[in-house]
Symmetry: C3
Subunit: 429 residues, 3 copies
């Protein structure tokens, strides 16, 4: 097994990807996927044509943005897409005209409470155009007139996503989902794909994998809907657990958001692994959901998918603004996010259900598993091991055994492995 | 839909019914049912002959009481049935004789702790006679001799009850049960039938009813036993929920008493509606039962019947005495009782189980159900609606959705109705 | 029914049995079983030959110990098996040689923290020899040389156990298990067999027994394994509840240790009976197990067996030393242990599941079960009885009815018996 990628490594990938102008569709998504596919082997790039019906939705037109600005009467650019791709409202239709200040204001977005932040705004499903800017710049725009230009195109093209399937011993699958549709933002965008890429590299390097892993890099919402539309029966039949990877690169918090009813294997493994890591973490309700779990966990899909994050979307002040940048997301933050996911997947892989082979306690002494001389206290040294044997009745997985035996899952796994090698336990799954 | 009856209206009915001398059987019950049937359409009056075997019981003889008194040697009436029908023990056999004070005392009932109250006493199943009086009058009766007269008859007649069935869209039924067997008492008698009558009028006025309603006006215990004997299979097959209406007209409290195990739809709906009304209410145990739920919820009947009351029988000092009168039961008290029942039945009617039609979130924008421009916070306005969609997996009724979505049932119903109209939800029941 | 045996009686049996040198196998076990079989009728003595495969184990050779000592160069015995059979390590192989102090020390066991106590040590499955002594004597042994003699034999013989089956009305069985394999110790040995013997005598004296009782007197661990090996299908099919009787004769505590998941009938009856006895008791976890429940409750055996003790093994300082003697175990302590077991088995016998015969409340008055005149409060006297009727729906046993009716099990049994005699209740099991 190779070492996991460092936080610095992941941060450098995010730095490379940061300037790209991503949206639901288009060149930015494809450039991002090209970069990511260079980090791993086996990524399949899939195009879904505009107009394709996917569940209740239709794949939208592709958006191409070349330039956009608001200039004063002297041609001086007051708001300039070339400086930040957040300045233009996502999916803005082309425009080239002179407007008054009042007309312009109807198309401007800024945040009076965060005067230095450019907000992130989109209008995917209603045709319009608009600009976003820091409120402190907006008040200095002057009275106009203004020349507004959006050099964009909306045309029938494709929605593009990437998919990697890493085979394991079982056809049962683990779904990892992250998104590639936000422009220059770091926690609520790039942290997800770069941690997912590092996870793919770590998973691929493992000597053995119990489960098959399906990792998807998709535009949020329409991407998961399109993916569900094409893989519903497969996903429902095979997925034993899944996670949405988002906002997983800052240093502030660790966060867990459950699946719809919060009772799936993904939930149990997440909570147990987080409890055992020893870091504080915040536990959200499914009512606070907001990413692709909305589709994976929807009625009829019912996939066992939880979300693991550092600071959750909507809960940190920089969220959906230009302040969500690569000073918020750090090497250390990414390393913590990757570490959490590796701990979770390590537990998932080890979380077998064990059953004792023999009725009655087996003879441990001759197998070198028990002290031969009985004196007060001599049994304590092997207490966890005999407890695993005592509770291995085929109804408890490692997490259940950990609770029954009041011992960490790592202890349970260590003893169960030793006992299985001695022919005393078998896994029933 | 017509307005519900006012408390004053219900109080006027109770005033009309108060003087009638009701008992398990006989003329008083029939007069009461005649009056009530004038308030609604479709009441069926049913007679069950004395001697009929009903479950473990036998319908008793009919009791006719014309007059009863205790007079002194001058013929002056010291205790007089004409002044209060509580003065004679219910089902007293005829008597006409001279007795000593000592002989009389063996047949007198009074309450030393409530010296001004005439107690209510019956002896349905053991033949005797007796008089009830205020303890403060008892001590002044003198030394006798006394002339005791009970001008009554016990003869083979009928047990009489009334029944109204109000059809709904479903053959599934709601059972409402109240009793008409106590003489001049107000909370523990007339509040039940008058609120039940107003409920029948309200239910009849509804544009549509999901359920069929079966409302029975019966003598307590023997009436519900006779009714069960004749309708057991029907009630067991059809009843989805039911309530006993008793002691529902004073102003002091709101009270809930569960079904046998407290887990039926009637219990869930009662508790949720009471919690949402915002009034304090008392929650009793089934161990504190005391009315016809003893039969409806008995093993073998197992009907899903709870009791909703204002001050529960046995819990207010005027209970089963002449002090339980029309100053204790008020227009406002009755209005509160009716309001509680209407809230409960309104929730029951709306308490459908919803299932999303589409896998994945449906597209709300084009249906006018979602803001088209996405900016921080824009989703909050429709949060309850999307939560209903997110949890509508066919396992949760409105009460369950209310708990999952942490929103009032009225919000859930509003959104579910809107979503169903848009073709996005279907009811599975 | 005869009186139960007194604590003094049980203590005298323990006094008789104390000097015998018991071990897993051999003459001491047989002498002990002979004595116990004299206290009861029907004990069957069973021999399992050395070398017999039992589950994962093999029955060991029989150990015969005639004498053992450590003497100084003058032939003076410094450690002498004749003074206490704890002085020799159980299953010591024969030896007769001169050793240095250093060589001797490698074979000595003492407890520096309990300098006056001889520890109890065995080495059943690894051939060695050894001596145990008080630490305060060890320091005075001198420098040697020493003559060590163990006059023992290890040879193919038998493992011996005793078994009594007391038939009842049902073929369903209760398993009582106690062990006879420790030398001169009182709480952690003799308290179990003597209380078990008194229980057999009490059970045999009962006019009727609902259940069949299977009482086994076995060497710990290998004995229960051998017993399981020969009776697995029978025990699994028939056993409704069982108890391990151990450490049940001192005066300090009452203790309960659950079955593997703690949800069996044995657990429910134990807890209810202990709660109702009013004595404080300690509630252990299955993680603190240590006797034959390790076999009875093992995966694949899954017998519903709990442990009831006074001071639990491992929890009192005299445990597994010469201090665990007949001053620690007292007549009063044994009487408390027997009383606990009789209370538990009395509840188990009475713990039927009841179902009302009639739909609706039956008529109690004519059966002499209810007051005929109704006046405020007259129903309270029969409240527990009508509650039993109200909840007797065939889903609740006496323990369940006790919880539903908020009344002691003795009240439930009293009323249920009366109601059954009146033809109003039937037992469904």
């Amino acid at each position: 097994m190779k070492e996991r990628d460092s936080g610095a490594e992941m941060h450098s990938w995010a730095t490379d990807l940061f300037p790209i102008c991503r949206s639901l569709t288009g060149q930015g998504v494809r450039e991002t996927l090209d970069y990511l596919s260079g980090l791993m082997s086996g990524m399949k790039i899939v195009n879904v044509p505009s107009g394709t019906k996917v569940l209740d939705w239709t794949v939208p037109q592709e958006w191409l943005i070349r330039d956009a600005y608001v200039a004063d009467s002297d041609g001086r650019r007051l708001i300039d897409f070339q400086k930040s791709n957040l300045h233009v409202v996502g999916y803005s239709e082309p425009v080239d005209m002179m407007v008054t200040r009042e007309e312009l204001d109807a198309h401007l977005h800024s945040l009076p409470d965060q005067p230095s932040a450019i907000p992130y705004v989109t209008s995917y499903y209603r045709r319009t155009w608009g600009f976003c800017l820091a409120d402190e710049e907006r008040i200095n725009l002057g009275s106009g007139p203004f020349h507004v230009v959006v050099d964009s195109e909306l045309f029938d093209g494709n929605l593009t996503y990437g998919e990697v399937v890493i085979p394991g011993e079982s056809e049962d699958e683990v779904l990892l989902s992250t998104y590639v549709c936000h422009p220059s933002m770091a926690n609520n965008e790039l942290s997800g794909p770069v941690v997912a890429a590092a996870l793919v590299r770590w998973l691929t390097s493992l000597d053995r994998r119990r489960y098959t892993y399906r990792v998807v890099f998709i535009p949020e919402t329409i991407g998961s809907i399109a993916y569900l539309a094409n893989h519903l029966d497969h996903l429902r039949a095979r997925t034993v657990a899944g996670w949405v990877l988002t906002c997983i690169g800052d240093e502030r918090a660790y966060s867990y958001l459950p699946s719809r009813h919060g009772q799936t294997l993904a939930d149990r493994v997440s909570l147990k692994a987080l409890d055992e890591r020893g870091h504080e973490y915040r536990r959200y309700s499914y009512l606070e959901r907001g990413s692709d779990e909305r589709q994976w966990c929807s009625p009829g899909a019912d996939l066992p998918v939880a979300s693991l994050m550092r600071s959750k979307y909507g809960e940190f002040p920089e969220y959906h603004t230009s302040l969500d940048d690569l000073t918020l997301v750090t090497a250390s933050g990414l390393e913590g996010g990757l570490g959490m996911m590796i701990d979770v997947l390590t537990l998932l892989e080890a979380n077998k259900t064990w059953r004792a082979v023999h009725v009655g306690e087996p003879q441990l002494g001759p197998r070198g598993l028990y002290p031969n001389t009985s004196i007060k206290g001599s049994g304590m040294a092997v207490r966890d091991m005999v407890n695993v044997l005592a509770y291995a009745d085929g109804t408890l997985d490692v997490i259940g055994l950990s609770e029954a035996c009041e011992a960490p899952t790592s202890e349970i796994v260590k003893h169960a492995t030793k006992l299985a090698e001695a022919g005393l336990l078998v896994a029933t799954d």
